[in-house]
Structure formats: C-alpha cells, structure tokens
Amino acid sequence: MKREEIFEKLNEIFREVFEDDEISVTDTTSAADIEDWDSLTHITLVSSVEEEFDIKFSMKDVIGMKNVGEMVDIIMEDK
C-alpha cells in the first residue's frame, strides 16, 4: 500500500472520529493541531485505524506515536 493511499484512508477516519469534514492530515499533524484529539479520543482513533487496516498497534506505539507520520510508518511496516 502506498503512503498516499494510507493518507487518503486516514483522512476519512479522522473526519469520522472527530466529526469534522475539513480535516486533512499530513505527516506532521499531531494532537496539538486537532482540538478534540485528547487521551479520550486517542484510543477511539487508534481502534478505528486498526480496524480499517487490519493491524494491531502495540501499547508502545499507542503511547509513543507523536504525529500522523509516525502512525503511517507503523502501518506501512505492518503491510
């Protein structure tokens, strides 16, 4: 799967989880850029990404990923 394709799918997930159709994520997008992205929504986001890509993040990844770029790296590693 190409990086662009992953971003396309991630955009859909982000828009659904944060209920904001204008969200467009990049490598550097982090919790600081999206108002509702806090510890409460983080796991919902992670679970949605896992379901979409049929992968399982380790707890180290869940806590450690600092931006969307790192999330994409982990997804690509698994694919």
Binding site: V17, S39, I43, T44, S47, S58, I63, G64
Partner: protein, 520 residues
Amino acid sequence: MIFTTFKFLLFFAITFGIYYIVPKKVQWLVLLVASIYFYLCASVKYAIFVIIASFITYLGARIIDKISSKQATYLEQNDLSKEQKKAYKTKIEKRKKMVIAITILGTLSMLLVMKYTGFVLENISALANVFHLNFESSTWQFILPLGISFYTFMSIGYAIDVYRGEYPAEKNFLKYFLFVSYFPHILQGPMDKYNDLSKDLFEGKKFDYENAVQGVYLIVIGVIKKMLIADKLAEIVGIVITNLDQYYGVNIAIAIVFYAIQLYADFSGYMDIAIGCSKMLGIRIAENFDAPYFSKSIAEYWRRWHISLGAWFRDYVYYPILRGNSAQKIRKHFKDKNKYLANHLPTVFALAILWILIGFWHGSTWAFILYGMYHGSIIILSTLLSPVYDKFHEKFAWFVKTKLYGAFQILRTFCLVLVGYFLFCIGDLQPAIQMFTNMFKQNLDGFKIIEKISQESIICVSVGTILLIILDILTICKINLYEKFRKVPFVLRWVIYGSAMFAIIMFAGGKAQEFLYFQF
C-alpha cells in the same frame, strides 16, 4: 527533612558542592548517597519498603529483558515459518505477561497492605456490625511509609515500560535504585519515567551557571508559595476544619476557596523547589502543574493539575482498559448498531474504573473514593453530552469565541473543583458533608473567618496570591517570567532574590509545616 528548613538547605548545599567537585563518572553515586540520607532522615523505619519495591521491579524488568533478548536470538537463528513465529511469540508473550503480573502484584501488595488494610477491615467491621457480629479492627492500622504511593507507582511504571519494550532494563541495581529514591521526587513526585531521567542522572554534568540561577529562581518562587501562602492559609483553614460547628454560610465558602489556594500553593510550591534543586544539579524532572485553576473544563483541569499522576494513570490504567477485551467487545457490539454508543460506551467504562482508582490512590477513605467518582462523573457526563455541546458551540459560535464565555468556563470549572475539595480537604465523609451543608445554613457571625487572620497574614497571603495569579496568567499567555527576569541587571536581580528570601524569613516565621501531599 522538609524542603523549607535550614537542615534541608544545608543538606542541599553540601550535596551541590560535592556533586560538582567529584569526577563526572561518580556524580550519580553522590546523588545516591544524598538520596539515601535524605530518605533516612525522613523515615528510617520504612526505608526497607523503598528497597523492596526497587528490587522487585528491578528483577522483574531484568527477567523480561532476558526473555526478550532470548526471543530475538532464537528468531534470528532459526528459519521459522510465519505460523511458527506467531506461535513462538505467543508462547514468549505469555511468559512475559506472567513475570510482569507477578512484579506488579509483588510491588503493589506492599502499598495495598500498608495503605488499605485499615480501610478494608474497617468496612468489614461495619458490615459485621450490621449483622450483629463481633469484629474488632482498630489494632490493624499501619503508619503509611513516606512517599510509598509515589515510588511504588514510579517503579511499576518502569517495569511496564520494559515489558512493553519502550527501553531496555537497567543492569546496575544501584543506578536503578537512584532513579527510584532520587531525593527531589521520592516523597511527593513528580512521577518521572525512567527513560526521561536516566540520561540526566547518569551521564555526568558540568556546572552550568544558567541552570543554577534558574534553579534558584524556582526555589525562591516555591518557598514563597509554601511559606507565605500555604502555611499562612493552613492556620486559617485548620481553625475552620477543626471547629465545623462554629462556621456557617459565607465563612465556609471563604474557607474552601482558601483551601484551594493553600493546596495549590503547597503542592506546586513543593514542585517548584524540587524542580529547582534538580535543575541546579543539571537534571530535568517532570513538570506537575500548568495553571490548573485557569482550566475551562474538568478534563482540562486534570491535564494541568498533578500532570505526572494523570499521565501515569493514562498510560498504565486507562489505555490498557480501553484496549482490553471488555472495552473492545462493547465497541464491536455497538459498532453497526449505534455509532454514538460504540464510540462512547467503552470510554465511559474505562473512565468509571479509572476515576474510582484515582480517588482511591489519594486515600483509603470513602471521601477520597467519592472525590474520584465526583470528578469522573463530570468527565463522563461531558463526554456523553459532547454532541450537545458541539451543537451549542456551533449555534452560538459568536458568543463562544468571546472572552466573557471563556471567563465563565474558567469560573464554572473552578466552582466544580471547589465542591470536590469538600471531600478532599478533610478526607472523611461525615465532616465533609457537615462542612458542605453548613455553607447553606444561616450565618449570624458576619465574616468571622477574616477576623481570625492577623494583619501580617493578610498581607502575606494577599501579596502571595496576587503573585500566584500573575504567574499563572503569564503561563497561560506563554510568557516566560524567568526570561524577562534574566534581562534585569545582574546586581539588581540578586538584590531581588535576597530581598525575597529576607521577606520570607521576616514574615513567614513559625515552625516549618509539612507539605500536604506527604500524606499520600
């Protein structure tokens, strides 16, 4: 050894001096000896618990590390199919899970026995009384070892991090023991993570003038908060708490506001001194406060108040519950039926457990459990009502963006926090209820509480609180006061430091009071 005593000042001056005289390689040993001495001064009898907690988690982490490296070597040396690899990994994972479970239980059992035995037996006794059975529990009370809630959680956090593969286990027990017993954080936190601290602790530091001056600045701020605000307010709040049948109405309201200021000045003052001392040694420990009383919601308040505790519970309790089978089952069950429930129910489930535990962490009484449940309920409610809030914010966007609405949110959150403090400040349910209901009873004594305060205390508390508010406003505006202060000419800067210390000695007076969070 209380931070605001001459004894501590002397202890720190000697540690600081020796630390920068000895070669870099052995600097951590100086800190180790100083930390052991510091803890022994506080509590000789219970030092054994620090050693046991450190040893169990050290051993657990080392075993997990060994299993992981054996696993890596085995996978590297054997050409296995995908299925074989998966089966092998599952087998190893089970082994690691067992080790981490034993490690956590072993470490936690000391805290549970020392902190909660009395509570459990008391409740069994109360239950036995209902059924007219004879059960005496009064002899089962233990004295809580100082800092046990902090170092137990820090060491468990370390073992879990190694289990998760965040970093390798520390091989040298003494180095690990320094991390657990490091004197600025052992008694009251912050709950540092091992990998955030280890580099600074062990690499050796050269004296840095900037760090030293910034450290002094933080210590001065911390001492002002503790001695000029917290200790003075403690006297007034103490009078009200111990004479609840004499204070009503507005006097109770004032007392609870005073308690809010006292607790914040006390705890954040301690942190400033701890961070300041550590900074002087070139070691950065975690921040614990970020202007919490300027939060616009309770969830935000907990991201700004006792930050390291919140982060600990998030990483080691909240996330694992949400990622666990039960929460995932709830989510999957509702996924195609109701998106709102699928997203919110697992969160509510995890939050409910989390907040009962946070309440229980603070103390072994029903008042503390209710305190946790109170904050948890507000957060759960605001999570469930988030679609309503979103609609309101959308409809009244023009108003929501105004400063007035922001001020209303801050005031609303502060009032909610104050209500919680009725449970927190006494830590006992019956007097907490009495104090709360007294607030709504007719008050015939005017501002009786104010009359109890000496003029000197009024000046100290007023000046100190104004300073506290200014500091927090600057934090919110992301203005670094220290950076501004650095631009003040050198001589004038040190005259200000000197005057501040002189004012503290002149006005603070009295006996150095213990810090409030020691009791946890």
